[in-house]
C-alpha cells in the first residue's frame, strides 16, 4: 500500500503541487503533492475543503420534514438521501422495513432504481467516458460530454436519453422532478397511475438494450489495455455493502456484509441498526472528512471501499438475468477473486445500471405499484436508522427525536466518506507510479483526477455557482519559490505563469 506517502518527513524542503479543486466531481476537492528535489513524490493527500454541516442543518427540525429537507444536501443524489431519511423515520413511527405496505416498498424500490439508473448513466456517459474513450492524457477540450456527442453521436444521445428516463421514473413516482414528497413516514404518499406506468413501459426495453450495450462497451474498453486498466490507481482493500439474506445484490434494504481483499467474509447479515458496534470513524487533522473503519480490524487495516465495485464484488449473484450474466463475466475477468482495479468501478457501475433497468421493467409489470394501501403506522420511537445503497455506496442516516418530534441528533455517513481512505490510497498509487520524476503537465495531472473520478465522489452539496471551479497547479521549489503555475479557469481556458 501507499500509506507511507500520507505524511512526509522534512516537509519544509519539498516542492508543493496543488490540484485545486478536482473537477467533474461534486463539490470541492484538492490534491496536494509534495515533491523532493528529484521530483519524487514524498507526500500525497486528497483534501476535502468544504465543511458540510449536514447534521447542524437537520437538527431542530421536525422529523416529518426530513425526506424533503435532506434532498437539498446534494444536487446529484437527492433521492438517495430522501429514501435513507424515509427509512429512518419509518422507525420513528414504529414501522420496520418488513412491515411497510407491499405497494409502498415496491414504489420506493422503483424510485431507487430510477435514481441509480440516471446517476450511473450520468457518470459513465457524461463524466467518465471522455477519459475512457479519448484517453486520460487527451486534449482538455475533448474531456466533456460535448466531445462525446461530437465524435460518438449515438452514444452521446443514448446517455442523454438514459439520464432523462431515470429522471422520468423519479418524477412519476415522487410527483416532482425535485423536492418530491414520494416517501413519507411509514410509506408513500402516492402510487403510480396506469397511464404513468404505461408511459414508462414504452421505453424500458430500449433502456435495457442500451444498458446491455454499455456493459459490452466498458468491458471492451477495459480489456483493450488490460495491464493498464488493471493497474491504474488499483489498491487492495476490504469492501462493504448491503446484500439480501441469500447473498444477492441488494440496493434498497439488506444486511451489512464486509469482505477482505482475499474475498474472505469479515462480517455478514449484520443488522445496520447496530452499525455503531461495527464501524467507527477516525478524525485526522489535515482534512474535514472522517476515515471510517471496521472496528474488528482496527484503524490501520479496517478501512474499506463501498459503491458499485464493492457491491458487485461482495454479492453472490444478481437476481436479474442480463446483469447476472454480466457479473459472471466480470468475476471471470478477476479469475473469481475480488476485483481490485479502481477503473473496474466503471464496469461494475454499468452492470448495476443494467440491473436497475431490468428491475424497473419487473416492477412496472407488477400491479402492486398501482396499489392504494400505502401507509402504515405503529408506536412512536425516539431513534431511527435508515441505510440504503446510494449510487456511490452505502448511505447511513441516523436520527434521534424528542417528545415534540424535533430532531435532537443526526448522524450521516455518506458513501464518499466511506471511500475517503480508498481515494487517498488511489491518489498515492497514481502519484507514486505515474507522476513521480516526470514533468508536471495538465494531462498528467488529469490522471489524478481520473483516479478520484472512478469513485464518482460527491464531495459537497448542490452548489453550482458558476465560476467556482477553477483548477490551480503550483510548482514550488525546495526554497519555497513559485517556479510554475497553471490555472484552469471555469471556461476551460488554461493560463500559465512561469517564473522558472
Amino acid at each position: 500500500m501507499y500509506e507511507h506517502l500520507e505524511t512526509a518527513e522534512n516537509r519544509e524542503n519539498l516542492k508543493r503541487v496543488v490540484v485545486d479543486p478536482v473537477s467533474r466531481v461534486e463539490g470541492h476537492g484538492k490534491v496536494t503533492l509534495l515533491l523532493d528535489a528529484d521530483n519524487k513524490i514524498q507526500q500525497a493527500r486528497l483534501h476535502i475543503v468544504e465543511f458540510r454541516g449536514f447534521e447542524r442543518f437537520i437538527q431542530g427540525r421536525p422529523y416529518w420534514e426530513l425526506p424533503v429537507l435532506v434532498q437539498r444536501l446534494c444536487g446529484i443524489c437527492p433521492v438517495s438521501h430522501h429514501l435513507a431519511a424515509a427509512k429512518a423515520i419509518d422507525q420513528l413511527v414504529g414501522i420496520d422495513p418488513e412491515n411497510l405496505p407491499v405497494s409502498a416498498d415496491k414504489l420506493r424500490r422503483l424510485l431507487h432504481f430510477g435514481q441509480l439508473f440516471q446517476s450511473h448513466s450520468l457518470h459513465f456517459f457524461h463524466l467518465a467516458s471522455p477519459d475512457l474513450l479519448f484517453g486520460f492524457e487527451s486534449d482538455i477540450s475533448k474531456r466533456s460530454i460535448i466531445a462525446i456527442l461530437g465524435e460518438f453521436p449515438e452514444l452521446g444521445l443514448q446517455g442523454v436519453k438514459m439520464r432523462k428516463y431515470g429522471q422520468e421514473v423519479i418524477r412519476m413516482v415522487s410527483g416532482k422532478r425535485i423536492h418530491g414528497t414520494g416517501a413519507i413516514a411509514g410509506g408513500m404518499n402516492k402510487s403510480l397511475t396506469k397511464a404513468e406506468r404505461d408511459t414508462l413501459l414504452e421505453d424500458i426495453d430500449q433502456m435495457i438494450e442500451w444498458s446491455a450495450a454499455s456493459v459490452r462497451l466498458i468491458k471492451k474498453v477495459h480489456c483493450s489495455n488490460l495491464p493498464y486498466y488493471d493497474d491504474f490507481a488499483t489498491i487492495r482493500s476490504n469492501y462493504l455493502s448491503l446484500t439480501k439474506s441469500d447473498g444477492a445484490l441488494e440496493l434498497y434494504h439488506g444486511g451489512l456484509r464486509a469482505k477482505n481483499d482475499k474475498g474472505e467474509t469479515i462480517m455478514d447479515h449484520v443488522d445496520y441498526c447496530q452499525y455503531n458496534d461495527y464501524i467507527h470513524e477516525e478524525v485526522r487533522s489535515w482534512t474535514y472528512m472522517k476515515f471510517p473503519y471496521l472496528l474488528s480490524m482496527g484503524k490501520e487495516n479496517g478501512w474499506y471501499r463501498v459503491g458499485p465495485l464493492a457491491r458487485v464484488n461482495n454479492c453472490d449473484y444478481i437476481d436479474t438475468p442480463l446483469a447476472e450474466a454480466a457479473r459472471v463475466e466480470f468475476k471471470a475477468h478477476g479469475e473469481e477473486e475480488m476485483v481490485h482495479s479502481t477503473l473496474a468501478f466503471h464496469w461494475a457501475r454499468l452492470i448495476e445500471a443494467l440491473h436497475c433497468a431490468e428491475s424497473i421493467k419487473i416492477l412496472l409489470n407488477d400491479p402492486d405499484i398501482m396499489g392504494h394501501d400505502l401507509v402504515a403506522q405503529g408506536e412512536k420511537r425516539y431513534e431511527g436508522i435508515g441505510v440504503i445503497e446510494a449510487p456511490r455506496g452505502t448511505l447511513f442516516h441516523h436520527y434521534q427525536v424528542d417528545g415534540d418530534d424535533m430532531v435532537t441528533k443526526a448522524n450521516l455517513i455518506v458513501a464518499t466518506t466511506h471511500n475517503n481512505m480508498g481515494m487517498n490510497e488511489s491518489v498515492r498509487q497514481v502519484a507514486a507510479k505515474y507522476l513521480s520524476g516526470r514533468e508536471l503537465t495538465e494531462p498528467l495531472l488529469n490522471n489524478l483526477e481520473v483516479a478520484i473520478r472512478a469513485y464518482d465522489p460527491c464531495l459537497s452539496c448542490a452548489t453550482h455557482a458558476m465560476g467556482k471551479m477553477p483548477l490551480q497547479l503550483e510548482l514550488i521549489d525546495v526554497e519555497g519559490k513559485l517556479i510554475d503555475k497553471l490555472v484552469k479557469h471555469s471556461s476551460g481556458q488554461i493560463e500559465r505563469n512561469s517564473n522558472g
Binding site: S23, H126, S144, I146, K164, R177, I178, S491, G492
Partner: protein, 161 residues
C-alpha cells in the same frame, strides 16, 4: 401541447443566495399569466435539460451569479462548447450545445437572467442584498414575460437588462 415559453430557474433553496433562481419562479407563478409559460426548476443544469428546449419559441434561464455586475444581468445566449470539464453542473450555453448536437438544429432563442448572489452556504437564508436584487429581477422578468417577443427580448438584452 408544449407551452411555447420556457422559464427554467435553477439552484438550491437551502443554500443561501443559490435559491435566487427558484425564488424568482415563485414570484412569476403568483404574478403572471402562465397560459403560454411553462415553469421548470432543478438543482443544476444537466444534459437531459436539452430535451426541455424542444418546441419552444423562447427560453429564459434564471440563475444566481456571484460575478454579476449589477443587481441582475440579462443576456442572449448561444450554443457554446463548454470547454470546462466541471460539467456536473453545466452552463446554459453548454446545454444549448448539447441540444444542437443531438437535434442537429439550432436551439430556440434562449436568454439568461443572472441575479447577483453573495453567500451560498448550506442552511443559510437569502442575504439582504440578494433579496433586494431578487425584487428587481422579479419585476423585470414579469414585464419581460408579458411580452414574449424575440425582438423585445433582444432589445432588452442589448441594454444588458
Amino acid at each position: 401541447m408544449v407551452k411555447t415559453v420556457l422559464l427554467f430557474g435553477y439552484g438550491n433553496l437551502s443554500r443561501g443566495d443559490d435559491a435566487l433562481g427558484p425564488l424568482l419562479l415563485e414570484y412569476v407563478e403568483s404574478h403572471c399569466n402562465l397560459e403560454q409559460i411553462e415553469i421548470l426548476s432543478d438543482f443544476q443544469l444537466q444534459i437531459e435539460h436539452a430535451l426541455d428546449l424542444e418546441d419552444r419559441s423562447l427560453v429564459l434561464f434564471v440563475d444566481a451569479s456571484v460575478s454579476c455586475a449589477g443587481a441582475f444581468d440579462f443576456a442572449a445566449i448561444e450554443p457554446s462548447r463548454d470547454k470546462s470539464y466541471t460539467t456536473h453542473a453545466m452552463s446554459p450555453a453548454a446545454v444549448l450545445d448539447v441540444y444542437q448536437s443531438i437535434k442537429k438544429q439550432m436551439p430556440p432563442p434562449c436568454f439568461l437572467l443572472s441575479i447577483k448572489a453573495e453567500k451560498l452556504e448550506l442552511g443559510e437564508g437569502l442575504s439582504p442584498q440578494a433579496k433586494h436584487n431578487l425584487d428587481q429581477a422579479s419585476h423585470f422578468a414579469a414585464r419581460l414575460l408579458q411580452q414574449p417577443d424575440i425582438k423585445v427580448w433582444l432589445q432588452q438584452a442589448s441594454h444588458g437588462r
